[in-house]
């Protein structure tokens, strides 16, 4: 700072004195809750980066296919024994995952199952106990199966796996871009909420006007981002065609996984025949 003494005449007087400011009480719940929820979404996406597959490391397209088969079997079956067997299988898989993941998956599946149980309670009291238990256990199995898949596989690998099921490449590209922009816009909105919080130093009677401003800026920014990306893609020679290469090898664990699921299909058919 080698500057000579600059003129202070243009610095307003109020800026030279210390502000003796005591803020009035105001509610910031909405901004604080928004910050927290956006932060959670961003952390969830960021955590995808560090997701490690469980030590079972099942081939991702195979895992997606098996989960889909499992969901179909669970929803079609009329046998409570079959659903219970699936639940036991899923819980035993959960046992070999790490504690954090186990808690996160169980939190979701137990929460949704409890909610279903409460909804089914009147039917249970009316005497439809079998159907109520059936639906509740089916919900537990479905949520746990999907939770296991999403918590043990990176989203990028999941979208990549869609290629194996002949999902058009352009659709996979759109999915990837969507995930990326949810993250980018999430970061942007988080910064805007931080700024709003930092600048809200007193009583704000027009909170919703500020929120509308934040939403408007977000909309304009997303439009700008979309335009920028469109131009960038054009510059990179994008002509509407997008090809994605996907090669994967099967290991012994994958064959074991296939065998288990074939077993489930056989069991489903057998129990279906026994029941009829």
């Amino acid at each position: 700072m080698d500057h000579t003494e600059s003129e202070m005449t243009d610095v307003p007087e109020w800026l030279l004195i210390n502000e003796n400011y005591i803020p009035l009480t105001d509610k910031d719940t909405f901004v604080n809750k928004s910050i927290l929820s956006i932060f959670r979404v961003i952390s969830r996406i960021k955590m995808q980066d560090s997701i490690q597959q469980t030590h079972l490391k099942i081939n991702v397209p195979l895992n997606v296919l098996c989960t889909a088969i499992l969901l179909i079997l669970v929803s079609l079956t009329k046998s409570l024994i079959f659903v219970m067997i699936i639940n036991v299988y899923l819980l035993s898989i959960l046992c070999v995952t790490d504690t954090d993941r186990l808690i996160r998956i169980l939190k979701l599946s137990v929460g949704v199952t409890l909610f279903t149980a409460i909804i089914m309670l009147p039917a249970f009291i009316q005497g439809n106990s079998y159907s109520s238990i059936m639906i509740t256990t089916k919900v537990f199995a479905s949520i746990t199966a999907v939770g296991l898949l999403s918590h043990t596989t990176k989203w990028s690998l999941l979208t990549k796996a869609l290629k194996r099921f002949y999902v058009p490449d352009i659709f996979i590209l759109i999915l990837d871009i969507t995930i990326k922009y949810i993250y980018r816009l999430g970061e942007l909105s988080l910064s805007m909420f931080y700024a709003l919080k930092l600048r809200s130093v007193g009583k704000n009677n027009k909170k919703y006007t500020s929120m509308a401003g934040v939403a408007g800026t977000m909309f304009l920014q997303s439009m700008e981002m979309a335009e920028e990306m469109y131009h960038a893609m054009e510059c990179r020679g994008f002509s509407g065609e997008y090809h994605r290469m996907e090669k994967s090898k099967f290991k012994w664990i994958d064959y074991f996984h296939i065998a288990i699921h074939i077993g489930f299909v056989v069991l489903y058919l057998y129990l279906g025949r026994v029941l009829s």
Binding site: P12, W14, M192, G213, V214
Partner: protein, 246 residues
């Protein structure tokens, strides 16, 4: 004024601040320097009460800033009035319908009467040389103009400390020069400045003291800016410059 002792902070498993110790006195002009991702922005967020330390303590004017205290709306509002934060991306800071409304946002919340609010806005517009923008829509301004409006928004609160995150980024040389002169003027007016920057050409003009981070998110040097700029080996060691820098 600002006292940071043995502070640690991490994002999930990624360490952002590793045993930070720092003291800043009123009226100082301090530059935070270091390679990208070394923890400068996190430290600025911590100073502004956006985040609180996982371990260690942060004191502002002798009072410890904790997560619990920041939950108290009155306390955090007072802290935010005393420490103004200019974000790296000015777009995130502007959300009102006109530049006038943008600058008046803070003073109005402080309960100042409309005459005083108008005086503050006019003074800020004059101080930042953006008198003609009063009725413009902030979103339609250029990068440099937005930065000026963002600074004006913070200045209208009359904070004791002004924290700027990479203020020179994306500005043309003329606006950079203007900003240097402006920050010097503010510092001479008694404001404490904390600036994170990569700009090695201008850093000695906007700060007297420099704090250097290494890539392990620790402070490796705290010295006069001029002295630090001479220590090229150290700057190379923290990956701030390469072999072509001299």
């Amino acid at each position: 004024m600002i006292e940071i002792k043995n502070v640690f902070y991490s994002y999930l498993d990624i360490i952002a601040l590793n045993n930070i110790n720092l003291e800043i006195k009123p009226g100082e002009a301090v530059a935070l320097m270091g390679a990208n991702g070394c923890g400068k922005s996190t430290l600025l967020k911590l100073m502004n009460g956006i985040i609180s330390p996982e371990r260690g303590s942060y004191r502002f004017d002798g009072e410890e800033i904790t997560h619990k205290k920041l939950q108290d709306s009155k306390f955090s509002k007072q802290l935010h009035q005393r420490i103004g934060f200019v974000f790296q991306n000015s777009d995130t800071q502007l959300f009102c319908s006109s530049v006038f409304e943008e600058i008046a946002f803070g003073p109005r919340q402080m309960g100042l009467d409309e005459l005083e609010v108008t005086k503050r806005v006019k003074d800020c517009l004059k101080l930042l040389n953006i008198e003609n923008f009063e009725n413009r829509i902030p979103y339609h301004l250029s990068g440099g103009e937005k930065r000026k409006v963002a600074i004006a928004c913070v200045m209208s609160l009359n904070p004791d400390v002004l924290v700027l995150d990479e203020p020179m980024n994306g500005l043309d040389p003329k606006t950079q020069r203007w900003l240097v002169e402006f920050l010097v003027k503010l510092n001479k007016a008694g404001k404490t400045l904390i600036i994170s920057t990569h700009n090695l050409e201008l850093v000695h003009e906007i700060s007297t003291r420099a704090i250097l981070f290494n890539e392990e998110h620790t402070i490796v040097a705290d010295m006069l800016t001029k002295e630090l700029l001479k220590d090229i080996d150290l700057l190379k060691k923290v990956n701030l410059v390469d072999k072509y820098y001299h």
